[in-house]
């Protein structure tokens, strides 16, 4: 199995010769007749920390929802470990989903359940652990994100950063192969978001997962990502693909360099 360090980046910043974990093939996303993005083709290698970037409203979260199978693509295909997700039947989809861990933008914690119940739900559904074992694993998974002892709290009783971490704890409950994050550090202060980034890297390395993340936090992008795709709202397609540090310095697209260097675009190039 390839790990993050095996990913070589070529001169163009495009990763080469690594095992594809997720593959998006010529996908078009649309809400009815309104096309959001066209011709999306990229691959996420095993062990990557892959970032989906782009300005507000370009369809980053929509792309994530397509990858999660919450929205069906208008055209094209998504493959996980070489197996088509779009064309799979419900049973094999659910099987594929069991190897995913997802944290949503708003956390997606079940508000009617305590943090402990939230983390235990996937364990109850998909493992043969007995009650005592589940309680132990839940307390261990919550401790991993620094929330040991918070089992009996409801999501509404803890802070935003703690909710995000609790959601992460639920996402890693089943030791997933792929971790998806929708804007993990949105709404967090700089220190919390830095800590969350470090937590993501540590967890990813210890469970050997691939990470796919929607974000536009530059510190996160440069701090932990090793591959990325940039979606452009004007041309309605991806205009850059590769290591974000390479793209910042060498991308042939001015918009991408400006985005990554946090520069204002010249008038006329601004997103509408």
């Amino acid at each position: 199995m390839a790990t993050a360090t095996d990913v070589n980046t070529g001169e163009t910043g495009t990763p080469v010769a690594a095992e594809a974990h997720i593959e998006v093939r010529d996908m078009t996303m649309a809400y009815g007749a309104r096309v959001i993005q066209n011709h999306l083709s990229f691959q996420v290698n095993r062990g990557d920390i892959f970032v989906i970037m782009g300005g507000s409203g370009c369809g980053k979260s929509t792309l994530l929802k397509h990858m999660l199978g919450l929205i069906a693509p208008a055209r094209g295909d998504i493959l996980y470990s070489g197996q088509s997700f779009t064309r799979a039947d419900d049973a094999s989809r659910d099987a594929m989903r069991q190897s995913w861990g997802i944290t949503y933008q708003s956390g997606g914690l079940f508000s009617a359940m305590t943090l402990g119940e939230n983390v235990s739900l996937p364990l109850q559904l998909y493992t043969n652990y007995n009650k005592t074992e589940i309680a132990e694993v839940v307390s261990y998974k919550l401790s991993l994100v620094g929330l040991g002892g918070y089992e009996s709290y409801f999501p509404s009783e803890v802070s935003g950063g703690m909710r995000k971490r609790a959601a992460l704890s639920r996402a890693i409950a089943l030791d997933p192969d792929i971790l998806f994050f929708d804007e993990p550090s949105a709404g967090l202060d700089p220190i919390s978001s830095r800590l969350l980034d470090e937590l993501i890297v540590q967890l990813k390395e210890s469970i050997g997962a691939t990470v796919v993340m929607v974000t536009h936090e530059l510190p996160s992008i440069f701090g932990i990502a090793n591959n990325s795709v940039y979606l452009d709202a004007n041309t309605k397609t991806m205009i850059a693909y590769g290591d974000p540090k390479q793209l910042r310095d060498h991308s042939d697209q001015a918009v991408v360099r400006q985005f990554l260097a946090r520069e204002a675009a010249a008038p006329g190039e601004t997103e509408q």
């Binding site: 989809r93 069991q98 995913w100 956390g107 997606g108 914690l109 559904l125 008038p267």
Partner: protein
Amino acid sequence: MSQHAPRFQLNDESPQTATLLLSGDWVQGQPAADFNELRAELIAASPEALAVDGGELGRWDSLLVAFLLQCYNHCRAEGIEFSERQLPHSASSLLRLATTVPPHKRPSEATPALLARLNPVRTVRKALGEIAGSLGFLGDLAIALFRLTLGKANTRFSDFRDFCFQAGPNAFAIISLTSVLVGMILAYLGAVQLKMFGAEIYVANLVLIGMLREMGVLMTAVVMAGRTGAAYAAQLGTMQTNEEIDAITTMGVSPMEFLVVPRVLALLVMLPLLTIYADLLGVLGGAIVAGGMGITMLQYLSQIEDAMSMTHFFVGLSKSLVFAVLIAVAGCRSGIQSGRGSAAVGNAATEAVVTALIYLIVADAAINILYQQLQI
């Protein structure tokens, strides 16, 4: 400090260039300058370039920049070259900021004319779509219930138990109040008419049959539609907003099995029980009125015993099962299909109650006709 009304003057500097001289105080409280006047003048003069001169401007606020922006947009649309001289520095930079991004043109959607909107074909098609959607939801629910009987569904018993508690015991107070009052109303209604024939004692029959076959179950269902149906829609709508339903789906769990089935089952168990309770209290309410008319409790009860038939009881009970499914389906479907945001959750709750009430009335009428034909 005295103020001067805002003024503009269009001068022809040369045949190609016009100057717009701005003067006075362009502030709130002054009669505003009308851009339409300027537009008319500009169209008449049709210059190739326009220079805005702010040399004689007094005080100014947003009104000035708003005027200049209209001016700028007009010039751009007409291909007139726009320039400025002696504008206050901050006004000119505000104008630049406002014109950096050209105004967005909303793609024109053909808004149907009023007549088209009232088009009966359209309305009927929409209603049919709504019914088809509900039937589809009912079908999915049937599949989920079937999987539950096979033991394959991801439905948690603890959820079912909690919903039973919310829908049942928590509703006792309001059901007690409404059913006693409905029993009394039925009794009063009959008493006045029956007195004319000296047949007051038949008030007992009227109350019993009325409660058992119709009012007990219908009033309970109406209360539960407002109480539990709306709650279901609001809960599921909030879960939709909160991405909880996405989280359930991507855990490989069917929201139908996990969220809808326990709610439907809870109502399916609780509504018949509440109906029996309402029937009892309704008859009690009738007894109070009968007592006031000089009928003793013993007379009333023995008359009730005579009139009692299990058929009436089961008619009401069978209705309650149908109503339970209708209320739960209307509530859950509105909630699951809710948009995201607090307004959408409110709409979902409203829609749930309105849909449930329509379903209830239509189903009640249909069942009554059916039983009439079957002579039950």
